[in-house]
């Protein structure tokens, strides 16, 4: 099944409007690197790593920021400065960077709880069984734990939406403790 899903992801990503040029992104990457890291591994708390995220996901989120549909104070001014081609190039660049696995120690009990919750919520159905994401659906594996938790809380509390409302529905009513476990489990994935 994993093969079938991979194939699907491959077909879908071919539908991206215009291919980004990762080399060209080196001109603009410094507007991201202070927080997200030049190699896409975040260096500031509560900031997502962009390395190895699906290209379409990165493009979509940057557009949502630009259009004011996703509001984060630190991001508000960023997209006024760059063109749509710059944004697409940055997505190509960061999607090709290597995500460094977390060095944080694993809490076995929390990990196990998170694993069970993920199975129950069918997270791997859209994010793929190894949580690498595809198309508009982000990679969760190895993402920063604090950011994963904060993002799930924002979805749960209806303070964030993606290109659709799926996550708000899935996380409705989930307890903070369960989010903590999910975030730990997912951050520990490679």
């Amino acid at each position: 099944m994993r093969l079938a899903l991979g194939l699907l992801a491959l077909i879908c990503s071919a539908a991206l409007a215009q291919g980004g040029n990762p080399e060209r992104a080196l001109k603009t990457v410094e507007i991201c690197s202070a927080c997200h890291g030049k190699d896409g591994n975040a260096v500031v708390p509560l900031t997502p790593s962009l390395a190895s995220q699906p290209e379409t996901f990165l493009v979509s989120q940057m557009i949502l920021f630009r259009e004011g549909l996703r509001q984060v104070p630190a991001m508000a001014a960023v997209f006024a400065k760059i063109s749509e081609q710059d944004l697409v190039d940055l997505a190509a660049y960061f999607s090709k960077q290597t995500l460094k696995p977390t060095t944080a120690p694993r809490d076995a009990a929390l990990f196990e709880k998170g694993e069970a919750l993920s199975k129950r919520g069918s997270c791997g159905g859209c994010h793929l069984p190894d949580y690498r994401g595809h198309d508009q659906i982000p990679r969760l594996a190895g993402q920063k734990e604090d950011y994963l938790a904060a993002t799930m809380i924002a979805y749960r509390d209806n303070k964030r939406s993606g290109t659709d409302t799926t996550m708000t529905g899935i996380l409705y009513g989930i307890a903070d403790a369960d989010i903590k476990a999910l975030a730990h489990y997912l951050a520990q994935q490679k």
């Binding site: 099944m1 079938a4 899903l5 699907l8 077909i11 879908c12 071919a14 539908a15 991206l16 409007a17 215009q18 379409t56 493009v59 979509s60 557009i63 949502l64 259009e67 004011g68 549909l69 749509e84 944004l87 697409v88 919750l117 199975k119 129950r120 919520g121 069918s122 791997g124 159905g125 859209c126 069984p129 198309d135 508009q136 659906i137 209806n158 939406s161 290109t163 659709d164 409302t165 799926t166 996550m167 708000t168 529905g169 899935i170 996380l171 409705y172 009513g173 989930i174 307890a175 369960d178 999910l182």
Partner: protein
């Protein structure tokens, strides 16, 4: 990967139930909350709407909605030569550079206003002697899909929000720069806030009323009493009437040029098989007719999850079926003089294309001919070539059609943010 799930009937009936229990088998919350007092019940969102009603046997299905394209696709990247039209017809790119372009309405002086979903914009496309310019007329809205111009005012419906932009063409730049603000009509229309199937289509009828669909907030459920219907209002939001019930999700309608009756497309449910239940083209011959959702689909298919005795009694059957999961959206009757005679009074329907089907379906514009009372319906391909059945890959997604004053027809393509013009010459 076997997941603990409740039984399919329970899963399928979550519409109202979820609002009370705030939890279903696909939610991550531990236990259903004790049923709260109805007055205090928070309006809990249902679980992810596209997965509702998915049976255990399809829990690992790789099918999921396609990603929207939110970036500009330049003209040279659009595979115009792949688009096929019948002999004598010609297709050209009328405009590109309007990411997410969906529903279209044309103002008196030729400005085309175009609604979108994920990107939250309404475009104004001006046409000065063939030189077209795409302007962002409104932005930051939640799925502003519904657009219609009447008496110089542009009405925009963004889920439950309704805005009226008076003198929309004359004040185009003022609205675009946000130095002028629209009239907020949201309170007057009082539409339900559900996001899922909450994007709107708008049309003004020969009765000078504004017609608005209110979709079911789920794939399959017992919808709230406010949903799964088509309504009409006076232009100021007063005088609401429900004119059709049992309508799952209509995103296109038009008035028959001879009878004035409303014909509409309706999208069939997901996760009940590859072959359907199929989408529908319907005709309202009497105010308040019931079109079957959630109990009875297509031409009399009883729902496998939401059951009641005699499910199809009193249900108005469709004029024709529109294909399995094909997503029949925008539709208009052709009344122009440019196309061959047999096109007159037939319906052109944009089919956005399937996601809940292994072999993709739709991704085209079809033509339906029928008698004015909806008999003898025949469906034929009109604009095709967006889907390659051999590779099962698509590159375009028609969302709406609109007749121009010269009798040519515009087709919006959401995938490429483009609008094509289809014309005919003998």
């Amino acid at each position: 990967m076997t997941l603990p799930r409740s039984s399919a009937p329970y899963l399928a009936s979550i519409g109202v139930l979820a609002a009370l229990t705030a939890c279903t088998s696909v939610s991550l919350k531990d236990q259903p909350a004790p049923a709260p007092a109805p007055a205090a019940a928070p309006a809990a969102p249902p679980p992810p709407a596209w997965a509702q009603g998915r049976p255990d046997s399809m829990a690992n299905s790789p099918l999921s909605p396609h990603a929207p394209v939110l970036t500009v696709t330049t003209t040279e990247k659009i595979a115009l030569d792949k688009i096929k039209v019948p002999a004598g017809f010609k297709v050209e790119i009328w405009v590109s550079g309007a990411p997410g372009a969906r529903m279209m309405t044309r103002a008196e002086n030729g400005t085309l206003f175009v609604g979108t979903r994920a990107i939250g914009r309404v475009y104004a496309i001006t046409d000065a002697g063939g030189k077209r310019e795409v302007k962002v007329f409104a932005s930051g809205l939640t799925q502003p899909n519904g657009v219609v111009v009447k008496n110089g005012s542009l009405y925009v419906a963004a889920i439950n929000q309704v805005f009226r932009y008076d003198n929309a063409e004359k004040m185009l730049d003022a609205y675009a720069s946000k130095s002028a603000q629209p009239v907020d009509m949201t309170a007057a229309f009082d539409l339900p806030p559900h996001g899922h199937h909450g994007w709107k289509f708008l049309a003004v009828g020969p009765d000078n009323k504004l017609y608005i669909p209110v979709g079911a907030p789920c794939n399959i459920c017992e919808p709230p009493a406010t949903n799964a219907q088509i309504r009409r209002y006076n232009l100021d939001g007063t005088g609401m009437e429900v004119i059709a019930r049992g309508v799952r999700n209509s995103v296109g309608f038009d008035f028959h040029p001879q009878t004035g009756e409303l014909w509409f497309t309706d999208n069939g449910r997901d996760w009940a098989g590859e072959e359907g239940p199929q989408d529908e083209l319907n005709r309202i011959s009497k105010v308040g007719q019931n079109f079957g959702f959630p109990y009875c689909h297509a031409q009399g298919i009883v729902d496998p999850d939401i059951k009641k005795p005699n499910a199809c009694d009193d249900v108005t059957m469709p004029v024709t079926l529109m294909g399995p999961h094909a997503a029949a959206l925008g539709m208009r009757f052709y009344t122009g003089n440019m196309f061959p005679d047999e096109y007159k009074n037939s319906v052109l329907v944009a089919r956005h294309g399937s996601w809940n089907r292994t072999q993709k379906a739709g991704y085209d514009v079809v033509r339906v001919t029928a008698t004015p009372d909806g008999k003898n319906a025949q469906l034929t391909p009109f604009v095709t070539g967006f889907l390659d059945p051999a590779t099962n890959a698509f590159w375009g997604r028609p969302a709406d059609v609109l007749q121009m004053p010269d009798g040519s027809v515009l087709v919006s393509d959401e995938q490429n943010g483009a609008i094509y013009r289809v014309s005919y010459a003998k």
